[in-house]
């Protein structure tokens, strides 16, 4: 299991104080990542203000990125499916896939991090799991070219049947993970701060044991926060402001009673930080990483990371960390 090959991507929430600058930075990150040999870049969707990231429409900048890159895969990590119309999402993804010569990887989620904005889209949070499955099954039928009108041939244009093979689910229960397998879709783990041993590993195992399709292998994408620096002290210093903001938010929301140390929080957030050597060791010991990951999706940007820091971290990932874990650029 330990010599399993994985693709290297990166996942970004598009942080910053100025969206226009954030989007320009995003394009630059993809261009550098492609030069460094990254297999993919994945963008999260965050709706409305007051929340986490700055970008509600990942497919729009991915279309811009498609014209500035040639090879790198264009992922969503994830689209909040209950808030989408299945036909419109299929259309946008199909156009992007055509523009990019089939480079789209479409990650889908049920919106656990976006609950307070559901009402803006006239959706009920309590129905989100049902909505997810209904929409995801509709999306699959539409992509596969089924007619949308009874007794007529009214089908998705442009056609995108192959994109059906590039869907991923973000799951937080073993039932959800097994369901992703039953749909022959990929599984994304680590998208929320789940414990690798007690939560993520059981998700991966449930997914793998539910996989029955013999024609294609299962595929698991593992998201990890990775902040390489000269040493652990420098990495902590770079992260301190954002972690303290995070602690304030947890206290405010009643998730925790009292602040813990920075180290404790970084541990609970599954953050791998420090010298590349420390990070490689930590990832090798991570119980839900090597042996499971078909796609490694490090997050290298926290809320106040500078663009310079992000680009440097991407470079360290591609040149030092990922190769030490068995990744080879351009293998895929």
């Amino acid at each position: 299991m330990s010599d399993k090959r994985f693709k290297l991507g990166f996942l970004t929430h598009v942080f910053g104080s100025d969206p226009a600058q954030g989007y320009r930075d995003l394009l630059e990150q993809f261009e550098l990542a492609e030069e460094l040999g990254f297999d993919g870049g994945w963008i999260a969707q965050h709706h409305l203000d007051g929340g986490f990231g700055l970008l509600p429409s990942p497919l729009v900048p991915l279309a811009a990125i498609a014209t500035r890159t040639r090879r790198i895969e264009l992922g969503t990590g994830v689209v909040v499916l209950p808030l989408e119309h299945a036909v419109r999402l299929a259309e946008d993804a199909a156009v992007l896939d055509t523009l990019s010569n089939g480079r789209v990887q479409l990650g889908l989620g049920s919106g656990g991090a976006n609950l307070e904005v559901f009402e803006a889209f006239e959706r009920e949070t309590e129905w989100r799991q049902d909505d997810f499955r209904r929409q995801q099954q509709a999306l699959q039928r539409i992509l596969a070219g089924e007619s949308l009108v009874a007794e007529r041939q009214v089908t998705l244009q442009p056609p995108a049947a192959d994109l059906r093979q590039r869907l991923w689910h973000s799951a937080s229960t073993t039932e959800g993970a097994a369901y992703a397998a039953s749909q022959q879709n990929g599984l994304l783990i680590g998208t929320a701060t789940h414990n690798p041993e007690t939560v993520q590993k059981p998700l991966a195992e449930a997914y793998l044991s539910a996989w029955t399709a013999s024609a294609r292998p299962p595929r698991i994408g593992v998201v990890r926060a990775v902040f390489p620096a000269a040493d652990r002290e420098q990495a902590r210093a770079e992260l301190a402001a954002d972690i303290n903001r995070h602690i304030d938010r947890l206290l405010r929301e009643g998730v925790i009673d009292q602040p813990q140390t920075l180290e404790d929080h970084l541990f609970h957030l599954n953050v791998h930080y420090g010298h590349p050597r420390d990070i490689v060791r930590g990832l090798k010991e991570d119980p839900a990483f090597l042996g499971y990951a078909d796609y490694f999706l490090p997050v290298v940007q926290s809320e106040t990371s500078s663009q310079e820091q992000v680009l440097r971290r991407l470079e360290i990932l591609a040149t030092e960390i990922a190769p030490a874990l068995g990744w080879q650029a351009g293998r895929h």
Binding site: H47, V60, P61, A63
Partner: protein
């Protein structure tokens, strides 16, 4: 007073092929070089006429290939959109393109498409009104949830760059939206009513006149290129009950009804001058493609428009090219 010159691409094609979108991007590049002020993409769902369901996605790519040309939708079919999702996509595209988006909206016409979206075509005006109100709320930065969440990114000046393709011109004028006019025979009347209402409502009017413009070496030569396509188009619209002329009506009647201008550039200039709509027009948008027009022909027609037609009508490119 000079008008702005645009082109509209409905992304037609006899069949869909993967290079269709690259061709559409190429037209933006060529048009910008020719000094066109704007390029507009139509939205068609599920292969109803045109092959592009996602104009904002393609415009995001066009934004990377161009620097100045304004990027329009002509039109997005609003009843089939979630207005908040549309506001999000439009606001992101506007930022990515340095504020170049012009957001044209319409109500749609195809009953099969409405059915595929679980709607009835008869509901389209009502759905349009409800969704336009919500879209404007979002673009204006008004709260969209009880807790006060608003659009992010904020939409800047995009609210002032909405357009409607509609015969309900008074409503568009009252909201301060631009008017996109295609039907030739009633164009003068629609524009007149729109301007009057805009004045009453204290809004600055913006009219974009959209015309099929097919310049070539002679009327007959152009007819050879486009008539079969136009006949297919009118047959389909007649079958949907939105085209009044009989199939056996003379060709010139069909072309006049559709507002199609064809022939040598000077014939087209003369026809537009005689029509008398050009003075005071804010925006003139040419459609130079029918279903079987290839990229080379489309480029040649855009060149003729930019070099031999629009300048004769008083257009001067904003940028020297």
């Amino acid at each position: 007073m000079s008008f702005a010159l645009g082109f509209l691409n409905r992304v037609y094609g006899q069949t869909w092929y993967p290079g269709l979108y690259q061709d559409a991007l190429e037209l933006f590049v060529v048009a910008e070089e020719l000094g066109f002020d704007s390029g507009w993409l139509a939205q068609h769902h599920l292969g109803s006429e045109g092959w592009l369901p996602s104009p904002l996605i393609l415009l995001a790519a066009a934004a990377q290939r161009t620097r100045h040309i304004r990027l329009g939708t002509g039109v997005v079919v609003l009843p089939q959109e979630d207005p908040v999702r549309l506001a999000e996509d439009a606001a992101v595209l506007d930022l990515l393109s340095g504020g170049r988006l012009e957001l044209g909206l319409g109500a749609g016409f195809d009953p099969l498409v409405a059915e595929a979206f679980d709607q009835r075509i008869e509901q389209r005006q009502q759905l349009f009104d409800i969704k336009l109100e919500r879209l404007i709320q979002a673009l204006e930065g008004q709260p969209l949830t009880r807790a006060g969440h608003a659009l992010q990114p904020s939409a800047g000046g995009l609210r002032r760059r909405l357009w409607q393709a509609t015969s309900r011109v008074e409503s568009a004028a009252r909201l301060g939206n631009g008017l996109m006019v295609a039907p030739a025979l009633s164009a003068a009347e629609l524009i007149g009513r729109y301007r009057q209402q805009a004045q009453v409502s204290g809004q600055r009017p913006r009219v974009a006149l959209v015309r099929g413009v097919f310049p070539g070496s002679s009327r007959v030569a152009v007819e050879r290129e486009v008539l079969a396509d136009i006949r297919r188009y009118t047959d389909k619209h007649r079958s949907l009950g939105i085209y009044p002329l009989d199939a056996h009506a003379p060709v010139d009647q069909h072309l006049a009804h559709l507002g199609v201008l064809h022939g040598q550039p000077e014939d087209i200039v003369t026809a537009l001058n005689e029509e008398g709509l050009m003075p005071n027009l804010e925006h003139f948008v040419v459609q130079v493609q029918t279903e079987s027009t290839d990229l080379g022909s489309a480029i040649r027609r855009l060149e003729l428009v930019a070099r031999h037609i629009a300048p004769e009508l008083g257009w001067t490119p904003a940028r020297r090219v």
